[in-house]
């Protein structure tokens, strides 16, 4: 005989009976439980759940299938990166920020490198700048391709993610030929990049570029016109421009709400002012728009890569720098436009070889705040669609 809660032998006498007043909640979570009304229940998703993109925990208050309230719980991937950076010297700190957003780790390197270079007044050689733009755009394509697959996966289609991984694998293998690693590249250095373009990278890039656009378009055809996909995402989780600006949303999520803000164009860094590209925007602000904006950005990235390859100058890829970096006391903020939004790093130097304080701004953290407001009143299945369209990566959220 296996135990059951209906078994009178295990019935635990309740501490309070019906005529006593309701117990005073001791914790915030308890208070939430007491706030449950008739017909509502909590569903706890995560930290291990197929569609929470890592180790996010989401507590959903549902009424039947309808989401009444939603509360993301963070911190399951808190690795103490900021503190570790403060105990490492400037070169090492780049290495710690590298795995923050593991889907697009070059951007997580680029932001602290930009901050440190401002702190030290380093002039990056032009060839290094071009190489940075080239690799970052490649990484952006890899990230957006994965996003497309995940979006479809969270809506129940299994094929797009596998096709997306083909493209992503080719890009990261190419980057591995250049940087030496597939996922955590650790390629950018203060004052340049680690190693010039090599033959293997260029030949792989050439083969890939010759058919990339056609292949990605072909992959997109699977779900872009799919009625089920479009019906599930159109008009879902509408984020208007005003709220988006108020919440500090950046990147494609902001551009999908009709605000054409792109750091590459509005606060230019590296050689972006010399390159020609569009900033795709959409006015709807729903999940579909967020998805389509990203797909348009892939095309723009391919365009940028094409220009970079034609205009790549010769020269060194590393500035002349002392072995031990000791910037003057001061503070600097460096930011880059990543596939998810603005990655920023605020570094304070106290004159030693280690940053005195390093603050990492990650767009995913901001976007995760939106899941609650955007999902309320929709169904459980829509939570996944909204969350996937915001595309948070938990490594960056929890740092």
């Amino acid at each position: 005989m296996r135990p059951s809660l209906d078994d009178p032998r295990v019935a635990i006498p309740a501490e309070s009976t019906w005529y006593e007043p309701a117990p005073t909640p001791q914790t915030e979570r308890q208070a939430e439980f007491l706030s449950l009304r008739e017909g509502e229940m909590f569903v706890n998703m995560g930290p291990q759940h197929p569609s929470t993109h890592g180790v996010l925990r989401v507590i959903i208050k549902v009424n039947g299938e309808k989401v009444v309230d939603l509360d993301p719980v963070l911190g399951y991937l808190h690795r103490g990166v900021e503190k570790l950076c403060e105990n490492a010297d400037y070169h090492q700190a780049i290495c710690y920020t590298d795995p923050l957003e593991y889907v697009s780790s070059l951007f997580c390197e680029a932001a602290p490198v930009a901050a440190f270079e401002k702190l030290m007044d380093v002039d990056v050689p032009r060839r290094a700048q071009y190489i940075r733009v080239l690799t970052m755009e490649l990484n952006r394509i890899a990230s957006h391709t994965l996003f497309q697959g995940w979006m479809a996966l969270d809506l129940g289609g299994i094929t797009p993610i596998l096709w997306a991984f083909i493209e992503r694998d080719e890009i990261v293998d190419m980057l591995a030929a250049l940087t030496g690693q597939k996922l955590l590249y650790n390629y950018y250095r203060i004052g340049g990049v680690n190693g010039d373009l090599n033959h293997e990278f260029m030949s792989r890039l050439g083969t890939w570029m010759s058919r990339a656009a056609a292949q990605i378009d072909s992959n997109l055809a699977l779900i872009n016109e799919n009625e089920i996909f479009v019906r599930r995402t159109r008009g879902l989780g509408v984020l208007d421009a005003k709220t988006a600006l108020k919440m500090g949303v950046t990147g494609p999520n902001l551009r999908a709400s009709g605000v054409p803000f792109d750091l590459r164009r509005d606060r230019p860094y590296l050689v972006y002012p010399e390159l020609e590209f569009d900033v795709p925007t959409r006015d709807e602000g729903d999940s579909l728009a967020r998805y389509l904006v990203r797909m348009d950005e892939i095309k723009q990235s391919i365009r940028i890569i094409d220009q970079v390859l034609h205009e790549m100058p010769d020269g060194p890829v590393m500035a002349k720098l002392p072995r031990l970096l000791r910037p003057r006391p001061g503070r600097a903020f460096g930011a880059v436009e990543g596939p998810r939004g603005v990655y920023g790093t605020y570094a304070i130097s106290d004159g030693t070889d280690q940053p005195f304080r390093m603050r990492i701004h990650d767009p995913s953290f901001v976007h995760l705040q939106l899941v609650g407001p955007l999902t309320k009143g929709n169904l459980i299945a829509d939570t996944m669609a909204v969350m996937a369209s915001l595309d948070p990566v938990m490594g960056g959220v929890d740092k």
Binding site: E225, N226, I228, D350
Partner: protein, 273 residues
């Protein structure tokens, strides 16, 4: 979106069917080795030369260059004398600055940080030289330092750590483990309680508990507000009462297990005044 309902579904179905017949992208891994770039640095092994001997010369350069200190090398030197270590410290043992609070720029009453370079470090060097900088003789070194200074200055501990190669945390741990090693300067007098069998029977245990409670410290440590230490006496003095409590070798005859608290309060009052 096409006008005909279902056209998107049909085009997607057509696409998957075309892919069904296309050549597959799988690299048959165990049979076919993947095409890995020569620059790939994911290799996690020590390389051997054509004779099968290790190419590693133990030059420690990789451990020094490793940006995140994930390479850990350690051992003893060729004469087997010095512990050599380069790599990440254990989780909480070693930091470059002892106090994280001080690193953040605050003034804190951290005893280890507050004692500046006020001592003459030459004596420590002499002691270290006498012990051949051997970390295995840590206890002897620390006792010699305590004999020379009367206590263990933090700067001396740092010096010991740097010279012997032992981690600061280990030096500190050794120093705190042995009760006869003191960190506080100026502790000249001591209150000692005998722990022989006779005294224990007549209540030395409860006296020790009472005193430790009243003075707010534990046995083997200095009393915070005075130059007194609490100690235990190794042997009973001849012609002394039980339980035996001595102050600087002087037996206290007016003390028993019952009035220990009031006696301690009186002592505290005397020191406060």
């Amino acid at each position: 979106m096409p006008r005909i309902p279902g056209a998107g579904l049909v085009s997607g179905m057509r696409l998957t069917l075309t892919r069904f017949f296309q050549p597959k992208r799988t690299v048959m891994y165990p049979e076919v080795k993947p095409d890995i770039a020569p620059r790939n640095r994911g290799r996690l092994e020590l390389v051997t030369d054509e004779h099968g001997t290790l190419k590693c010369e133990t030059c420690f350069q990789c451990a020094q260059a490793c940006p995140i200190e994930c390479i850990d090398m350690g051992g003893t030197d060729t004469k087997g004398r010095f512990a050599v270590h380069w790599g990440p410290a254990e989780q909480y043992a070693e930091r470059r600055e002892e106090s994280a609070m001080r690193r953040s720029g605050r003034t804190v009453s951290d005893a280890a940080a507050a004692t500046g370079a006020t001592i003459n470090i030459a004596k420590v060097d002499e002691i270290l030289e006498a012990h051949d900088y051997d970390p295995h003789h840590m206890l002897a070194i620390l006792e010699a330092i305590q004999g020379a200074y009367g206590y263990l200055p933090v700067d001396a501990l740092k010096r010991v750590s740097r010279a012997t190669g032992a981690w600061y945390a280990m030096v500190y741990g050794t120093a705190t483990f042995y009760k006869h090693l003191a960190f506080e300067p100026g502790v000249t007098r001591s209150i000692a309680v005998c722990r022989c069998a006779n005294c224990l029977v007549s209540g030395a245990g409860s006296v020790m508990g009472t005193l430790s409670y009243e003075f707010g410290t534990e046995f083997g440590r200095a009393i915070p507000w005075s130059n007194l230490r609490l100690e235990s006496l190794p042997s009973h003095l001849p012609d002394a009462p039980s339980p035996l409590v001595v102050i600087d070798g002087e037996p206290q005859r007016d003390l028993s297990a019952k009035n220990a608290a009031s006696w301690a309060a009186a002592l505290a009052g005397r020191y406060a005044a």
